[in-house]
Assembly symmetry: C2
Homo-oligomer: 227 residues x 2
C-alpha cells in the first residue's frame, strides 16, 4: 500500500497542545475522560460516588473546572485522591493549556485514570479538545429529552451519555426512551448508561464501563512497541 500524502491540517494552538497531552497520556497508559454537561446535571456527585468506590491507592486524579469558586474541588478532595480546581475566571470552557498547566505538579507515572470535570455548559466545551480519550456527556432527567437535538455537537462528540438523576423520573415529564432515540439520531453508536447518584442505581454499570476503558488503556500501553 502506498502512503498517501495527507494535506497538512492547520491545527489551532489548542489542538496542538491537546495532541501533545494525548500522546503523554498514551505513553503513560493514563485514561483521560472529559465530563461535560449543563450546570447542575450532577457531574460532581457522579465523580464523588466514583471516587468513593475506588480502593485506597487507586491511581486516579481529578481536575475540576469552574468559572468561580473551588466548591467542587473541596467536595471531591474528601475522597483522599488528588484533586485540583481550575478556576477559569470567566471562560465558559476548559482548554488544553489549562490542563497542561494543572498537570505540572503531578507525575503521570503515578496515574492511570484522570477525570476532568468541565465547566457546566452544554455548548462551548464541545469545541475544545483536552487530549482526552473520550468525552462523556451527562444529562439530567430534570432537563428534557430533546436536549440531544438542541445541542447536537456535544452528543455527537461524546462516546458515552450518562442519563443521570433517574430517581426523579416519577416526578418529571421526561420520556427516557425518546431521550435515547434523540441521542442515537445524533450519534448512532453512542453508549448510554442510566444512573442515579442518590440511590446508586446504575452506578455498577458506569463502573464497569470505566474499568473496561481503563483496561483498554493499560493494554495499549503493554502492546506499545519498545524502540
Amino acid at each position: 500500500m502506498n502512503r498517501v500524502p495527507l494535506e497538512k491540517k492547520v491545527l489551532s494552538e489548542n489542538d496542538r497542545i491537546a495532541g501533545e497531552l494525548r500522546e503523554r497520556f498514551r505513553e503513560h497508559g493514563v485514561l483521560c475522560l472529559n465530563l461535560i454537561s449543563s450546570p447542575g446535571a450532577g457531574k460532581t456527585l457522579l465523580l464523588e460516588r466514583t471516587l468513593e468506590s475506588f480502593a485506597p491507592g487507586t491511581r486516579v486524579a481529578v481536575l475540576t473546572g469552574d468559572i468561580q469558586t473551588d466548591n467542587d474541588a473541596r467536595r471531591l478532595a474528601r475522597s483522599g485522591f488528588p484533586v485540583r480546581q481550575i478556576t477559569t475566571g470567566g471562560a465558559c470552557h476548559l482548554d488544553a493549556r489549562m490542563i497542561e498547566r494543572a498537570l505540572t505538579e503531578w507525575r503521570l507515572e503515578d496515574l492511570d485514570l484522570l477525570l476532568i470535570e468541565n465547566v457546566g455548559n452544554l455548548v462551548c466545551p464541545a469545541s475544545y479538545d483536552l487530549g482526552e480519550a473520550a468525552k462523556i456527556v451527562v444529562l439530567s432527567v430534570a432537563e428534557g429529552e430533546d436536549k440531544p437535538l438542541k445541542y447536537p455537537s456535544i452528543f455527537f462528540k461524546s462516546a458515552l451519555l450518562v442519563l443521570n438523576k433517574i430517581d426523579l423520573l416519577p416526578y418529571v415529564p421526561f420520556r427516557i426512551e425518546e431521550a435515547r432515540e434523540n441521542a442515537r439520531r445524533v450519534h448512532p453508536e453512542m453508549e448510554i448508561i442510566e444512573v442515579s447518584c442518590t440511590t446508586g442505581e446504575g452506578l455498577d454499570v458506569w463502573r464497569q464501563w470505566l474499568e473496561a476503558r481503563r483496561e483498554a488503556a493499560r493494554s495499549e500501553l503493554r502492546e506499545a512497541p519498545v524502540c
Copy 2:
C-alpha cells in the same frame, strides 16, 4: 450644575445595535425581557404558562433561540401569539443583530411585551446585550444552590431570579434559603420569585412582576416629551 464631558466609550458592534434596539423599544413602549438559564431549567414551559395566562389580543410576542431545532417555537406558537425561532446554527448565545433581523417582519407598534428566550447556557448569553429592559435568570431547583456563586456574571446582571421547579423540592437536596443567600451575595438587590410551572405555584407572583414592569414601560412612554 455643569455638564461634565464623558469619555467617549468605544462600543462594540453588539452594544451599538443593542442600544438602537433599546431606543426603539422605549419609543414604542415595548417591554423587552431576556430570559437566560441552563438547558432544561424550564424557560420554555414558563413562557408557555405565561402566554396561556394572557387574554387573546394581548400585545405580546416571543423570540426563542436555540442552536438547532424549532421545537420551542412550535410549542410556544400553540398559544396563538406571534412567535419566531432564531436558530443560531452553533452559536452559544443570541446577539443583538439576530434580534434586529428577527424583528424585521413585526411592527413594534403592535406590541407592548417582547419576551426573548435565549439559548440554554448560563455563561455566554450574560455578555450579550440584546437591548432588553431586564435580564431574567431562571434556575431549576434540580440544579444546585451554589450556581449563583459558580456563574456570578448572569446573576449579577439579572434583575430577577426565577427559582423554578419548586414542586421537585421534596425529591432533591436543594437548599432554597442557601440559594437565595448565594444570589443576594452576588447581587444584593436581586428580586427572587419561586415558581412551579407544573403545579402553577408562584405563577401569580411572576405575572404581577411582569404586569408591574409592563405598566412602568407604558408610563415611560406616556411621559416621554413630544418634540
